[in-house]
């Protein structure tokens, strides 16, 4: 029974997308409820999938009964099920959050189209998480990206240009991915990830395989917005509709990171990377530069959403840096944990930041003065997430840094410990400005409390509490789960 769930998750979203489009002709109010119902259903299924996979191992589903490597296979292992859960968990919260902001920001007649694209985006992301086929991953990624470009553009004005630039760079990135697949297909003649991995193990010296790896890496790194390729990202995050910012900065960003981990470890393996250790160390230092530069750019911003966008660029660096440790399990464990950790923190921060815009139209940091008293619960959620970003134990931000520090201690690369400490200090600098504006500046005296509506406030509060609870979980019991992910990706040490 549960073996069929991965394909049901993807299909449910696709089906509901077109149901919303059709039902929107008759009733525009119902779109939101169909969307929320579908996401809740998918989230329930993904919890069953995650539970099943941790107990009994990978779910392999052959579409149409065609055996791989000829047919398309959905292979959902621990990492895939975990990513699927992350995607749907944040889609769920973002959908709850979306109701009010969408009513405010999107014209009424466009609302069914909005939720149609919303479901297509979720469908694409789920597809990437469950698939075990290289070309299928490309198709799902394009479904998600195209829906994403259109959603960003729905805000109009500046968002149109932001979306256009994202479209150009995103398509260049995904085309590089396709080029990598072409090269891999030329030497192995297969598109199935497991089959490709087995066939590649004899071809590690092949020049075409090297070229394929470089194309995959560059393509996915453009999609992730690692530092030299980040130009599209701040505009896209800043100008898009609030609900879309929350979804793309959490689930969408993680899907690209997941695809990179999947290609690097499940198709090319650590054995391949160890042959090019010098190049891979260079990647680690580029990621470190991304961490530091992203934070410095964040300090220079005056708009709150843009500052958070640059902070996301810095956290993409964390994931790539964590991936670059090959001889220790702590590296990949940090990367896997950070998929959830960063989403938790960024979802809270963006929900509150967009909430400030919703309530008071305050976009710049200095306009936030006194909001700590006017909107105490939202400001509290923001502060908890900000503390987590800085990395104070036992929050989730600390867990990632702790694992990366463990990894660098184990491999003797002490430089990265310094990177972690500097990054924490820089985060303190840019979040301090916001916290200062919220609580310490502004006129004193009586302020009328006027917090966000419940549908926007509670998702942010729940995620803020989870920033702490998940941190405790990772430090206590979650290690076992992360170790099993490291084991499936064959990173040992």
């Amino acid at each position: 029974m549960i073996e069929h769930f991965p394909v049901v998750v993807v299909a449910a979203s696709l089906l509901s997308a077109f149901t919303i489009l059709l039902s929107g002709i008759f009733n525009r109010k119902i779109s939101y409820y169909i969307s929320l119902g579908t996401v809740t259903f998918q989230l329930t299924l993904s919890i069953f999938i995650l539970d099943y996979v941790t107990k009994y191992g990978t779910i392999r589903y052959w579409l149409g009964g065609w055996r791989p490597p000829w047919g398309i296979e959905y292979a959902t292992d621990e990492l895939g099920a975990y990513t699927l859960f992350i995607v749907l968990f944040f889609s769920f919260f973002a959908t709850i959050y979306a109701k009010r902001v969408v009513e405010k920001e999107i014209e009424e007649y466009k609302i069914p189209y909005f939720y149609t694209l919303w479901q297509l985006l979720i469908s694409g992301m789920c597809g990437v998480a469950v698939t075990g086929d290289l070309f299928n991953l490309f198709v799902f990624m394009e479904i998600a990206s195209l829906a994403g470009y259109a959603l960003i553009a729905m805000a109009g004005k500046r968002a149109l240009v932001a979306s256009y630039n994202y479209l150009i760079l995103g398509t260049v990135g995904i085309s590089f991915y396709l080029l990598g697949t072409a090269f891999l297909y030329a030497v192995t003649g297969t598109l199935n990830m497991l089959d490709a991995k087995i066939l590649l193990s004899l071809l590690y010296e092949n020049k075409v395989v090297h070229a394929a790896f470089v194309f995959y890496f560059i393509g996915l790194v453009i999609k992730m917005a690692l530092i030299p390729f980040h130009i599209w990202q701040p505009d896209a995050y800043e100008y898009s509709p609030s609900a879309v910012t929350v979804l793309i900065s959490t689930a969408m960003a993680k899907i690209n990171a997941y695809a990179l981990i999947r290609i690097v470890f499940s198709v090319f393996t650590t054995e391949f990377l160890e042959k090019f250790l010098a190049v891979w160390t260079l990647v680690a230092w580029i990621a470190s530069a991304a961490i530091i530069l992203g934070s410095i750019f964040a300090i220079m911003q005056r708009s709150l959403k843009r500052m958070l966008a640059y902070s996301s660029i810095s956290h993409v660096g964390y994931i790539v840096l964590a991936m670059s440790f090959l001889n220790t399990k702590w590296g990949i464990m940090a990367a896997a944990a950070h998929l959830l950790n960063h989403s938790l923190m960024k979802a809270t921060l963006f929900m509150v930041a967009c909430g400030f815009i919703y309530k008071t139209n305050a976009k710049r940091i200095e306009e936030l003065e006194g909001l700590g008293r006017k909107m105490p619960l939202s400001a509290a959620a923001f502060t908890v997430a900000a503390i987590s970003m800085i990395g104070i134990p036992p929050t989730v931000g600390f867990v990632t840094k702790f694992y990366i520090i463990l990894a660098s201690l184990e491999t003797g690369q002490f430089g990265f410990i310094a990177v972690m400490i500097v990054s924490s200090l820089l985060s303190l600098v840019y979040f301090w400005r916001v916290i200062e504006a919220l609580y310490m500046k502004g006129h004193h005296g009586e302020v009328r409390r006027d917090d966000l509506p419940a549908l926007m406030l509670y998702p942010a509060l729940i995620l803020a509490v989870l920033c702490i609870l998940a941190g405790v979980f990772w430090l206590a019991k979650g290690v076992v789960f992360l170790e099993s992910i490291a084991k499936t990706l064959e990173v040992v040490g």
């Binding site: 070309f135 490309f138 198709v139 394009e142 195209l146 470009y149 259109a150 553009a153 109009g156 004005k157 500046r158 149109l160 240009v161 979306s163 256009y164 479209l167 150009i168 398509t171 260049v172 085309s175 396709l178 080029l179 072409a182 297909y185 030329a186 598109l191």
Partner: protein, 133 residues
């Protein structure tokens, strides 16, 4: 294999390289949004050309073993007896899917350009930057 053969017998691969570079240059270097999307389309099409070229698996065997290549991938007993090698159908399927994706991308980009033009009255990147401040 001499140099002439390397260039002439594999002309499709060379055109792939040239087209890909032209497309990538166009997508990145030009300031006009229409030119950018033209470049991007050339870039994507170049990748499809590579896939299609890969499909013709019999080309090298043809010369060494005296077999004929390039037939359709259908069961054809006479063809098997006479030593025909069929074309790999998988890349064609992939390219078909890829063309659909590329068309969707192009359509979305054109729709965005119409909206941008209505909003700002220009499609030049530097003018847009000025207007947006």
């Amino acid at each position: 294999m001499d140099v002439a053969e390397m260039f002439l017998a594999r002309y499709n691969y060379w055109s792939f390289v040239v087209l890909m570079l032209i497309g990538l240059y166009g997508a990145i270097a030009y300031g006009n949004l229409v030119k950018k999307i033209i470049g991007l389309s050339i870039f994507q099409t170049a990748i499809f050309l590579l896939f299609i070229s890969l499909a013709d698996v019999g080309k090298d065997i043809e010369r060494t073993l005296g077999l004929k290549s390039g037939t359709a991938p259908i069961v054809w007993e006479k063809g098997i007896e006479e030593g025909y090698i069929y074309v790999n159908p998988v890349p064609h399927v992939l390219v078909l899917t890829g063309i659909v994706v590329a068309a969707a991308t192009l359509a979305l980009a054109l729709a965005l350009m119409i909206r941008i033009y209505r909003e700002y009255g220009t499609l030049e990147e530097d003018e847009l930057k000025e207007l947006m401040g």
